[in-house]
Amino acid sequence: MSATTVTPGKKLGSIQEYEVGPGTYMRNNYIYSSTVGDIYIIKDVNKKLPCISVVKDKEQSAIPEVDSIVTGKIIRVNPKMATLAIMVVGNKPCKDDFQGIIRVQDVRSTEKDKVQIYRSFRPGDIVRARVISLGDRHSYYLTTAENELGVIFAQSISGETMIPISWQQMICPKTKVMEYRKCAKPN
């Protein structure tokens, strides 16, 4: 049993003592814990008060927030946009897939209007993108207009894993057939 494990609703201290961190909340100038987990007090040099947070060990499913990097599989493509099933948020896989859309003007930063969607994505490709807004009822809005974002895994027609050779081309090692994709820069 680690030092102090707390359950939701436990009074941790007053707002004069600590800064509110993740897993805690403030109500009539007292700080309470909002999840079950261990208390971590991190001294932050440029802030005068230490920041208190409660961390739950069993990672629960994350949900996409604005600016978080998500990874997913393309499920549908049409000239206006590509639809993506978000399977991983950051590096935590989520239990149920969320739906995201990459609009044709968010595919890349250069020559936005000359983008042909089927030269950028194909159904079945694994794509890494960034959330730009919470979007509408069904899906989040995503963008791949950065070098590290785009297709990280694609299969050629013959079913081989293709290797990116430039930011917009991939090659199938077996049949040497070249296909167009908006590839992500390998890290």
Partner: protein
């Protein structure tokens, strides 16, 4: 085009393998067309029909079905089902409705766009067809960029029939169209997606022609000539009434 030989036995069922190695002479490559699948060094049939080949190089299964699967550069007749700012949605009888960009017309520019009403018929060429995408159409020919026949089909009458019949109508030496041509003046457009458009000044002729075309599917050349003669006689009696 040299005649196509029919390969015995007569009918092929899906799953039957076809041995082509005795036709494979060393230099040229055997091409396999629709209805056949090349898997693990053997060719199997995936549709039922008769095996046809074109001087032993191109092999395919000739089968007739009713559902159209778009493929590149085929001429189709579609009906406009929706209009948006920069493209029309066209129903061509395939799984997904096709997209016809407003700029894909001869002489169309951002400002003067063709105005087609919803429900209008259009004769177009398939410009993009792959299984992952919705098919796209163009009303300009691939080579000349001119319309040459593409664009809206005004009035006339549209009939739906099987793909096999449409393919045979496009084949010049099928008797039906030439036989009818001798007696009636009519204008027609045949789409590979099982749709035929017929236009004559006189409505009764149009109906007569469309029935003739539909019945001609299972008739031999002789029976077609006989049928056309009767139709001509019958239409002359109506004239006298």
């Amino acid at each position: 085009m040299s005649e196509t030989t029919e390969f015995q036995p007569y009918a092929i069922l899906p799953g039957e393998t076809i041995s082509l190695d005795k036709y494979k002479n060393d230099k040229d490559v055997i091409k396999i067309g629709p209805g056949l699948l090349h898997e693990k060094q053997q060719v199997t049939a995936i549709k039922a029909g008769t095996l046809k080949n074109h001087n032993n190089q191109k092999w395919w299964i000739d089968s007739s079905q009713r559902r159209y699967v778009p493929s590149l550069n085929e001429h189709v007749i579609g009906k406009i089902i929706a209009k948006t700012q920069d493209y029309f949605r066209v129903d061509i009888g395939s799984a997904h409705s096709a997209l016809l960009s407003t700029l894909a017309f001869e002489g169309a520019t951002k400002r003067n766009k063709p105005n087609l009403e919803i429900g209008a018929l259009v004769y177009a060429r398939v410009s993009l067809a792959n299984k992952d995408m919705e098919p796209e159409l163009e009303c300009i020919s691939a080579t000349t960029g001119k319309a040459n026949g593409f664009g809206e089909l005004k009035d006339g009458f549209l009939i739906k029939c099987s793909l096999g019949l449409c393919r045979s109508l496009l084949n010049p030496n099928t008797p039906i169209l030439t036989a009818l041509g001798e007696h009636f003046a009519f204008e027609t457009a045949v789409g590979m997606n099982g749709r035929v458009w017929i236009n004559t000044p006189d409505i009764s002729n149009t109906i007569l022609l469309s029935n003739a075309i539909k019945n001609s599917e299972f008739l031999s050349a002789k029976e077609i000539k006989q049928m056309v003669k009767e139709l001509v006689k019958q239409s002359e009696d109506d004239m006298e009434l």
